[in-house]
């Protein structure tokens, strides 16, 4: 092929000079390609960065490199839940076997057992706290430490408890009016009776005479009724806390500490505490504060902020409930002074406090936190408190455990995510208990209880059915009644008899729903996934390995969605480009009929003409594609230099995995951009090239005159 290179050079020269000769056409076509290339580079850099950020956040906080669950599960794993609630997963009855199988795969660093679920927490110590205060007063009086001050406090505390009981009674009456009372009527009637008693003046006179029995009545009969109304859904991951901490470096204990090894306990999601537990008026003030100071938003004209202002002011009943008459008087005094009015009605003062606008907000925010907050309990429970967590066990029955709150936890990058940031963490044993699986210690305990109570043994088959088939649970209809913490329910005692053979110290021995696998080298994820599934098959297990993105469910799909939107936009732009380039080249070809005919007459084969038109089209594509990619890279660089794209909202904060998005330019983005541009320019040149090859040498012979 001597001269082939020279021929190519000439083709290029013809192409470029031609392009230069028809500048306007070239600039229009090139402009579109340029814009497309910029969009591809910038867009895919942004999406890639979001992808990488979310991957790092989710892998580093919950998913690990690979998630493994039972392939026979009815639903796919969804770490952060899905629209349909918790996925229905087939459990691994003996996690140690799963771990052993996965450990045979080379490059596996850690296998962390997990069990995800939702439960209900009954923070409900408002009533308990009030009764406890009363009890302290009673004790003080009994000890003879009298005095007018104690007496006043005692009266105030009595009034507080009584008012709460009255509220509970009103709630119950309301519920009875709405609901068909035929079912549960016996229990309801008993509750109504109790509440009637607790609100009667006779009862409170009785309190003075026989304080201890009266307090007991309040704690045992009335407090549980208060719990029921305030159940809040909590999402948790039950795991071995030590292994979890090692595996997930994104976990941060923002308050408190990790439960010591062997201890049970709960780490409450920080955002969960803020969003669901905190006194709502305080939460709204926090949100307003952040929006105004961080995002420079204004209450005036901002619908969302105006709504928050309204909601903050609308929560004063919740706030008033917390205060006994003495505290209420103190609060009124403080507010009156801070607001500088002579008003002494707390309700009116609060209304005044929450009449927020852009001018008074920061002062009012300070008044709330400096004056009012010290008198209030902002969260229903503090680190160190115990909470009751109730969940539906696998069998469908309610189970509950009392857990100490050891701390507040958050995951870096997911702090503000409504999906991922509300996750709480609990120890594996508590999860197993909620799930309805018991370890050897509990089983021994239960055997003792059963022996004492003379409980009937169920056959093993029945136990299986009871444990794993929610629909066959007719045998114990009463056990599922929600309410105050139940002792270990009966069906759970029957299950998992095999657990008794296991060493109680090994947290891996027992049930788990899924496993997070940490690899030495994250690049090996696809290979590791195949090997894990193969190892499962060899071990007689049905392991399904998924990536963080699949495991994260809807959250993981966001990136895919963003990518899809980008690709659709790119597709549209390049489809338009394709049509325009095609048109322009067809026109150009028709104008060059004589030239092409001459070349054909002189001896140019059709493929030469074909190549000539394509080279021209590709030359435009490559030249402007390169320029566009460079420009796109420049835009990415500029965004970085300017400090990134700030996250304007909590949702953005989550997708950006932090307060701002610093896009990174990937070689992939550039390659994709150039690839698409090349493809488009080749495809758009095909039809004009075909037309050009149809030009016959005869065209050269036609003279103009």
């Amino acid at each position: 092929m001597r001269g082939g290179l020279a021929a190519l050079r000439m083709l290029l020269q013809i192409a470029f000079r031609d392009l230069f000769a028809s500048r306007v056409k070239t600039l229009i076509v090139g402009g579109i390609i340029l814009f497309g290339a910029v969009l591809v580079v910038v867009g895919s850099s942004l999406v890639d960065t979001v992808d990488a950020g979310m991957r790092a956040s989710i892998q580093g906080s919950l998913a690990g490199h690979v998630q493994v669950y039972d392939a026979r599960s009815r639903d796919p794993l969804a770490l952060y839940g899905s629209m349909m609630g918790d996925p229905d997963l087939t459990p691994f009855p003996d996690f140690a076997r799963v771990k052993a199988a996965i450990a045979t795969v080379p490059g596996v660093r850690q296998v962390v057992p997990m069990g995800l679920g939702t439960a209900l927490v009954s923070p409900g110590n408002l009533f308990d706290v009030a009764v406890a205060r009363l009890r302290a007063d009673v004790r003080a009086r009994a000890a003879g430490r009298g005095g007018p001050e104690l007496e006043a406090r005692y009266q105030a505390h009595q009034a507080h408890v009584r008012r709460m009981a009255t509220l509970l009674r009103d709630d119950l009456l309301q519920a009875t009016a709405i609901l068909d009372a035929s079912r549960e009527s016996a229990e309801r009637a008993r509750n109504a009776e109790d509440l009637a008693r607790a609100t009667s003046s006779g009862f409170w006179e009785e309190l003075d005479r026989h304080p201890l029995s009266s307090l007991e009545f309040l704690e045992n009969r009335i407090a549980p009724l208060a719990l029921e109304g305030t159940l809040i859904v909590i999402r948790y991951v039950g795991t071995d806390l030590e292994q979890f901490r090692k595996a997930f470096d994104r976990m941060e204990i923002v308050e408190g500490r990790l439960p010591p090894p062997g201890e049970r306990g709960l780490l409450v999601g920080k955002l969960y505490a803020e969003e669901y537990l905190k006194l709502r008026a305080a939460r709204r003030l926090d949100q307003l504060q952040e929006a105004i100071t961080l995002h420079h938003r204004k209450i005036a004209g901002d619908e969302e902020l105006a709504r928050w202002v309204k909601e903050a002011g609308g929560q004063t009943r919740e706030l008033l409930m917390q205060l006994d008459p003495l505290q209420a008087a103190e609060a009124a005094r403080r507010l009156g002074r801070a607001l500088g009015t002579g008003e002494d009605d707390l309700g009116k003062l609060l209304a005044q406090l929450f009449a927020l606008d852009d001018r008074n907000f920061s002062a009012r925010y300070r008044i709330f936190y400096d004056e009012l907050a010290p008198l209030l309990q902002l969260y229903p429970f503090k680190v160190g408190d115990a909470v009751t967590v109730q969940g539906a066990a696998r069998s469908g029955y309610m189970k509950s455990v009392n857990l100490k709150v050891w701390g507040l936890v958050q995951f870096k990058g997911l702090e503000k995510s409504g999906f991922a940031g509300v996750m709480s963490v609990m120890d594996l044993a508590s999860f197993r208990e909620l799930y309805g699986w018991l370890g050897p210690k509990e089983l021994a305990e239960i055997r003792g209880l059963k022996a004492a109570a003379g409980a009937k043994e169920l056959s093993r088959e029945e136990a299986e059915a009871t444990l794993f088939g929610g629909e066959t649970s007719k045998e114990h209809p009463e056990a599922g009644a929600p309410g105050h913490p139940l002792p270990l329910s009966r069906e759970a005692r029957e299950g998992q008899g095999g657990g008794a053979d296991l060493a109680p110290s090994d947290p891996d021995q027992g049930v788990a729903l899924n496993a997070a696998v940490i690899l030495d080298d994250p690049r090996r994820i696809p290979a590791a996934m195949r090997q894990i599934e193969a190892a499962g098959t060899r071990a007689g297990l049905h392991l399904k390995a998924v990536t963080w993105q699949e495991a994260a469910g809807m959250v993981g799909q966001f990136v895919t969605l963003a990518r899809l939107v980008l690709y659709v936009a790119v597709l549209i732009i390049f489809a338009v480009a394709l049509v325009i380039i095609n048109n322009a080249l067809v026109m150009a070809t028709l104008q060059r009929v004589t030239e092409i005919g001459t070349m054909r007459a002189i001896g140019a084969q059709r493929r030469f003409i074909w190549a000539m038109v394509l080279v021209e089209s590709v030359a435009v594509g490559v030249a402007f594609g390169l320029a566009g990619s460079a420009l796109g890279a420049g835009v990415v660089w500029l965004i970085r230099a300017a400090g990134g794209i700030p996250a304007g909202s909590d949702r953005m904060y989550f997708f950006f995995s932090g307060p701002s998005l610093l896009p990174r330019l990937g070689a992939g983005s550039l390659a994709i951009s150039l690839g698409i541009v090349l493809l488009v320019s080749v495809v758009s040149g095909l039809y004009p090239a075909l037309i050009a090859t149809r030009v016959t040498p005869l065209e050269a012979m036609r003279s103009e005159d």
Partner: protein
């Protein structure tokens, strides 16, 4: 007729123009010997361009045969015909038909690049030599648009000859030139014919151009009106001096 480079046998060419048939050529036979400097003469629409197109392998006859350099063009594929044009035939067009975006030397080099096989140095030598012979060595880097009509046609002559073809076809090569420039171009062609023995067939209706021919074939209404008559003498002496 062993020496004939072109052999046209009983050729008819019919064009379809809408519903009417146009008989451009009917029953034309012609042999051209190597080294001839043949003029095809006739009024517009007489069929001389059609005859040149058939000889130049850019068109095929409706009936009859056309053989160029011993090859029956009816038996060749489109690709082989292109190859034949590239290797054996040079073209000079009425409107010069240079590639506007290429320089003078690139235009001349173009057929050599299509042929391939020559090194860059060989190509440059050949192109330089030809440009010197047509008197445009100093214009090698110019674009066609920077040249006069006569200069452009001389570039076209150089391009037609650069592959050293056996046959050069020129359809009305002087029609777009004034008579003096046209005369110079014909002189150039004549010189190439004498020096290299390249066969030239050109059409014209200009008697002064015709006078340079070694023979004139007159064509009228798609038929050969007179074969091999002598060129018009009075003009021949005038232009030949």
């Amino acid at each position: 007729m062993v020496e004939s480079i072109v052999s046209v046998r009983d050729v008819t060419k019919v064009y379809q123009l809408g519903k009417t048939e146009v008989r451009a050529l009917s029953g034309v036979s012609l042999d051209v010997a190597r080294g001839e400097f043949l003029s095809i003469a006739g009024p517009s629409g007489s069929g001389k361009t059609t005859l040149l197109n058939l000889i130049g392998c850019v068109d095929t006859p409706t009936s009859g045969t056309v053989a160029v350099a011993g090859e029956d063009t009816a038996r060749l594929s489109e690709r082989a015909l292109t190859e034949l044009r590239l290797r054996r035939i040079g073209f000079i067009f009425q409107s010069f038909n240079l590639v506007p975006v290429l320089s003078v030397e690139q235009n001349v080099e173009f057929p050599l690049l299509l042929q391939g096989g020559l090194s860059g140095r060989e190509r440059r030598a050949r192109v330089g030599d030809l440009l010197a012979r047509v008197g445009l060595a100093s214009h090698a880097r110019h674009r066609p648009s920077e040249l006069s009509g006569g200069q452009r046609q001389r570039v076209a002559v150089a391009r037609a000859l650069v592959t050293r073809p056996a046959l050069v076809l020129a359809d009305e090569p002087t029609a777009n030139l004034d008579s003096q420039t046209g005369g110079q171009v014909v002189d150039l062609m004549k010189e190439m014919n004498r020096r290299d023995g390249t066969t030239f067939i050109f059409s014209t209706h200009d008697a002064r151009v015709m006078s340079h021919a070694s023979a004139v074939v007159r064509i009228a209404d798609g038929r050969i009106a007179s074969e091999r008559e002598a060129p018009p003498r009075e003009v021949a002496t005038g232009a030949g001096s």
